[in-house]
C-alpha cells in the first residue's frame, strides 16, 4: 500500500506548469506539495524542510533538472530522495544522462494524471521492497 501522506517538491520554471502538476498530483491523493522555480530554489527548499519526493522539470534556467539531480545525489543527506524527471526531452542521449545521474524514473510531457501518479506509486513501491 502506497502512503499518499508524503511531501512532494515540484520544480518547474513555469508557474503554470507547477500548477498543472500540482492539480494532477492532487488527483492522485497527494496534498502536501511545495514548489520551487528552478534547481537553486529547489536545493534551498530541500535544505530547509524534509522533502520525501522530487518531481522536477529538466529544462530550466539557473540550474537544470539534470544539475539538480546530480546535486541531490551528491549530497549525503538528500541522496536517497526519489527523483522523477519531467521532461519534453525524450531524446535518447538525455535519457541515458538522467539514468547515469541516478534518476528514479522520468516522464515525458505531455502526460495525464494517471501516468504521473502511477510513476510515483511505482517508485515508492520499489523503495519499500
Amino acid at each position: 500500500m502506497v502512503d499518499n501522506n508524503i511531501k512532494i517538491l515540484v520544480v518547474d520554471d513555469f508557474a503554470t506548469m507547477r500548477k498543472v502538476v500540482r492539480n494532477l498530483l492532487k488527483q492522485g491523493g497527494y496534498e502536501d506539495i511545495v514548489e520551487a522555480e528552478d534547481g537553486v530554489m529547489a536545493l534551498k527548499a530541500l535544505k530547509s524542510q524534509k522533502i520525501d519526493f522530487i518531481v522536477s522539470d529538466w529544462n530550466m534556467p539557473n540550474m537544470s533538472g539534470l544539475e539538480l539531480l546530480k546535486a541531490v545525489r551528491a549530497d549525503a543527506e538528500l541522496a536517497k530522495t526519489p527523483f522523477l524527471m519531467v521532461t519534453a526531452e525524450a531524446l535518447q542521449d538525455n535519457v541515458v544522462a538522467a539514468v547515469k545521474a541516478g534518476v528514479s524514473n522520468y516522464i515525458v510531457k505531455p502526460f495525464t494524471a494517471e501516468v504521473l501518479n502511477e510513476k510515483i506509486k511505482k517508485i515508492i513501491e520499489s523503495l519499500q521492497k
Binding site: F14, M17, P61, L91
Partner: protein, 153 residues
Amino acid sequence: MNVQFINPFIEGTVSVLKTMAFVEPRAGKPYLKLDTLAKGDISGIIGLTGSAAGSLALSFSEGAILKIVSNMLGEDLKSINSDVKDAVGELTNMVSGVARKNLEAAGFYIQAAIPTIVSGKDHSIAHVMGGPSLIIPFEIDEGVFVVDVCLAE
C-alpha cells in the same frame, strides 16, 4: 522546407493539446508565410539547433488560448494574463519536445532553447533562419491558432 518536417509538428500539437488541455484541434491545410506578422494575439517562439535548425512558433487567438489554458488549470480565465503567457511558453516547449522526438525517429537530432513569449495585436515573429515559414492552421470551437515553423537542414 522538407515535407518530412510537417507531420511531427501536427502530431506534437494535437498530442499536447489533447493530453494537457482536453481539446481536439482540427488541422487545416499548411501554407507558406512570407511576412513576419503573427497570426494570433499571443505567440511562443523557440529556437531549434542540430541536424536541422530554425525555430518554431505557436501563435494563438485570444479565444483559443483562453479555452486551452482554462482547461489546463481548471480555472475560467477571461483575459490574457501572466498564467496564460506562462502556459504559451510551456505549450511551445512541449510541442517542440514531441515533434523533436518524432523527428529523431526520422534521423534528425534537434535540440531546443528556452521559449520566449510575445503578445499584442499585430506582433511579429522573427524566425532564426529569416523565413519563409510554413504555417499549419488549427482550430477549436473557441478560436484559431497556428503552428509556424521555419526549419532547414
